[in-house]
């Protein structure tokens, strides 16, 4: 997958823990871990919206297109 999720970078910038963020956006810590480790196959707009709201950022800050990555 050439789409990378830079969630851990944003979480470090905002100094928020995984458990805390998961609770605030309404997903399980396991699902947040799947997202953080680039194992997710898709992300719902509602999840992305919640992430951007809680981390006070734009979708582009979380998602990155990296050709050739993850092959």
């Amino acid at each position: 997958m050439s789409i990378m999720i830079n969630l851990d970078i944003m979480m470090a910038k905002r100094r928020v823990s995984a458990g805390d963020l998961a609770a605030r956006i309404g997903i399980t810590p396991v699902n947040l871990s799947v997202l953080k480790n680039n194992k997710a196959k898709a992300i719902r707009f509602s999840t992305l919206e919640a992430l951007c709201r809680e981390l006070d950022c734009q979708p582009g800050d979380i998602l990155e297109f990296a050709p050739g990555a993850g092959k």
Binding site: I27, L32, V34, A40, K41, I43
Partner: protein
């Protein structure tokens, strides 16, 4: 009250009965000619036994493999694991076993050893092969959809 769990148990018991029936048939085969002393059945005449016995044993082996896969499939359904790669493999094996049974019986017919029952079983096995292929394709597609759904956050 009847429910899904009891239905799976009934299917499991039926599978076990079928396994026992196939084994019993395989054990009975060598003594089968004695049951037809006047050689009224073409299957158990002295001159046809050399072809009939291996082909019927081949069918029994394929049927046993298919039944064991069916048992595994039912066990995984009981465990709530339906759309898995293992089940797709089991369905594929069952379909090829059905094809093998149809093929063996058709090959036996080439030697001009045939009965209406053999033709019917060959046709049924061939049709079952098709059905199982379609079922396998459906489960495989459902597995991919489930996989995608599970990893959509």
């Amino acid at each position: 009250m009847w429910n899904d769990a009891k239905s799976v148990v009934l299917s499991l018991v039926s599978t076990w009965i079928a396994i026992v029936a196939v084994i019993a048939f395989a054990v009975w085969l060598p003594v089968a000619p004695k049951w037809f002393p006047y050689q009224e059945s073409i299957l158990f005449r002295t001159e046809t036994l050399a072809i009939v016995l291996p082909s019927l044993y081949g069918c029994c082996a394929a049927a046993l493999v298919a039944l064991i896969c069916l048992h595994g499939l039912l066990k995984s359904i009981q465990a709530g694991e339906i759309f898995t790669l293992a089940n797709v493999r089991r369905l594929r094996t069952i379909s090829w076993c059905s094809f093998a049974i149809a093929g063996i019986l058709v090959a036996t017919c080439i030697f001009r050893i045939w009965t209406p029952a053999m033709i019917l079983i060959a046709l049924a096995a061939g049709f079952f092969f098709l059905l199982m292929r379609v079922m396998k394709n459906i489960i495989d597609a459902a597995r991919l959809i489930k996989d995608e759904n599970d990893y959509t956050i």
